[in-house]
Amino acid sequence: MFNRGKTSLPYLFLGPSLLVMLVLGLVPTVAAINLALKNRVLRYPDSDYVWLRNLERLMSDRRFLNAIEVSAVWEVVTVLGAVMVGIAIAVYLFENVHGKWRQAMCVLLITPVLLPRVSAAFIWKFMYSPLTGILGWLLGLVGIHDTAFLSDPALALYAVALVDIWQWGLFFAVIVLKLLETLPPEPLEAARLDYARTWQVYAYIALPMLKGPLISLVFIKMVESLRSFDLIYVMTKGGPGVATETLDMYAYAQGIGLSGKVSYASTMAVLMMIATTLIFTLIWKRVSKWED
């Protein structure tokens, strides 16, 4: 670092921004924890500390336990789905599509993730609709006629998850493709000279070389998948019944609207915050490891 002498620039440029972020970041976090320990209901201004009573009530709340289960299924399906779809498409493009075509493909593949979740949800909700949706018609052509996926408790969650995988899987395909492009070509060529099959080249050489970045992608998707709210809210509102009610959906339903049990909802939010922080710290440690 060259000598800049004494200057006020770093204080003036960094100080206020950092202060604003600290306030904006810490106030909701502290308030969430504070609320979680109380019995605040939006309708009444006063409230008392009940400490861990909310947590106790949550543990015997069957709807909450259902939400955990739904969230867990959602996490597994969307994380694995998006990463696997991403890898498969990336390998296909890396093998078969080159030059300008590849660039054009990349631009097309990142459009779904840029769509507002509300838009994506409406588009697919309409395509899924049983009598007039185009998916029902397509499946009807191959002889599948029972296509009310979003109102089937056993399938609704997977139908919504497919939209999430559509958005993120295609986006991850572009990232994995760019990562494959950064690999040195020699080991892959050597393997091909030794008559390795294409899938072997990727399964045993290319993908293991990208293990670090790929695991980071899994972690990023894990945190991102916790925000399932927008899609589910528009497509099913948590229904049918509670079949697609994830944690953030249930917390929202409790905290907002007529009931407004902000404390109860806050307890759930704090639990999600703890989960996020755990995953996030793991990512950070990993990223720091690469940079060293």
Binding site: R4, T7, L9, P10, F13, L14, P16, S17, M21, L24, G25, V27, P28, T29, A31, A32, N34, L35, R40, L42, I89, N96, V107, L108, I110, T111, L114, L115, P116, R117, V118, S119, F122, I123, M127, L131, T132, W137, L170, V174, I175, K178, L179, P213, L226, R227, F229, D230, L247, D248, Y252, G255, S266, A269, M272, M273, T276, T277, F280, W284
Partner: protein
């Protein structure tokens, strides 16, 4: 012969992939210029007389206009404020000795990963207590958290990648630290910085949950207004829904080129 089949298969997969990526959006676009009778058919119709009636209805409805204005003001202000505070902060982190630099970066990224429910629910109580619930001001402040942390985070590597020699030469020419920033660093990095700023714009433009929780009617943003369309009247107005879907998706899609370049530059840096 076998080769020919393999080539066809490769092409087939490629075309299928393009269809999967693009068709849903094109289908919405097509449906947005159909009359309801052309939409609600058991067999999808690709040929029909197009109409702009749905768009007229969307733009003519007062809620959409309010939502559009709110979104423009709230998202615009949050991005502008985030830029004015975030870019200089990123420059300091990139170029000066700051104690606890890694902790600051950890903090920035953790803000991005905070679950939206954990932000939305306590903020309902806070804004209600302050008497600011359902105002544009409270939404701008809330979104500033997202834009400021994202812009700062994405601008740091941009400044780090700029060759230091340019600034050193300017210092030797007698430029002070402020002049180096305004006249050298900022103009040099402006186009690359724009990528991160646009990304933060897309994030808050698309955001639904926090807006849904923190607004009711006065300052509802466009996603909130659009998400309420399902329950309009008895008949589901699919044409209008498709038109509003397309309008909502338009701003982020305009920037697809810029964002794809941002992605390229980020992954090349590794």
């Amino acid at each position: 012969m076998g080769r020919l089949i393999a080539r066809c298969a490769v092409w087939g997969v490629g075309i299928l992939l393009v269809l999967v990526a693009v068709f849903p959006l094109l289908w919405a676009l097509l449906n947005s210029v159909k009359t309801l009778l052309d939409i609600v058919t058991p067999t999808p119709r690709f040929l029909f007389t197009p109409t702009l009636e749905n768009y007229r209805q969307v733009i003519g409805s007062p809620e959409v206009l309010v939502g559009l204005t709110n979104s423009a003001v709230i998202v615009g202000s949050a991005v502008l404020l985030g830029t004015c505070m975030g870019v200089p902060a990123a420059y300091v982190i990139a170029r000066y000795h700051v104690p606890g630099k890694r902790d600051i970066q950890f903090f920035l990224l953790s803000l991005r990963f905070l679950p939206p429910v954990a932000v939305a629910i306590p903020l309902i109580a806070i804004w209600v207590d302050l008497g600011l619930y359902d105002t544009r001001f409270s939404m701008i402040v809330t979104y500033l958290l997202t834009t400021l942390s994202t812009i700062t985070w994405l601008s740091i590597p941009v400044f780090q990648r700029m060759p230091r020699e340019i600034e050193e030469a300017a210092t030797l020419d007698g430029y002070g630290p402020y002049a180096v920033f305004w006249k050298i660093a900022l103009p040099n990095c402006a186009t690359t910085l724009l990528g991160g700023i646009i990304f933060s714009f897309v994030l808050v433009w698309n955001e639904l949950m926090i807006a849904l929780a923190l607004t009711s009617s006065n300052s509802a943003t466009l996603p909130v207004v659009a998400s309420a369309f399902t329950s309009m009247g008895q008949e589901v107005p699919w044409g209008v829904i498709n038109a509003s879907t397309v309008l909502l998706a338009l701003p982020p899609l305009i920037f697809v080129g810029v964002l794809s370049r941002l992605l390229n530059s980020m992954l090349k840096g590794k």
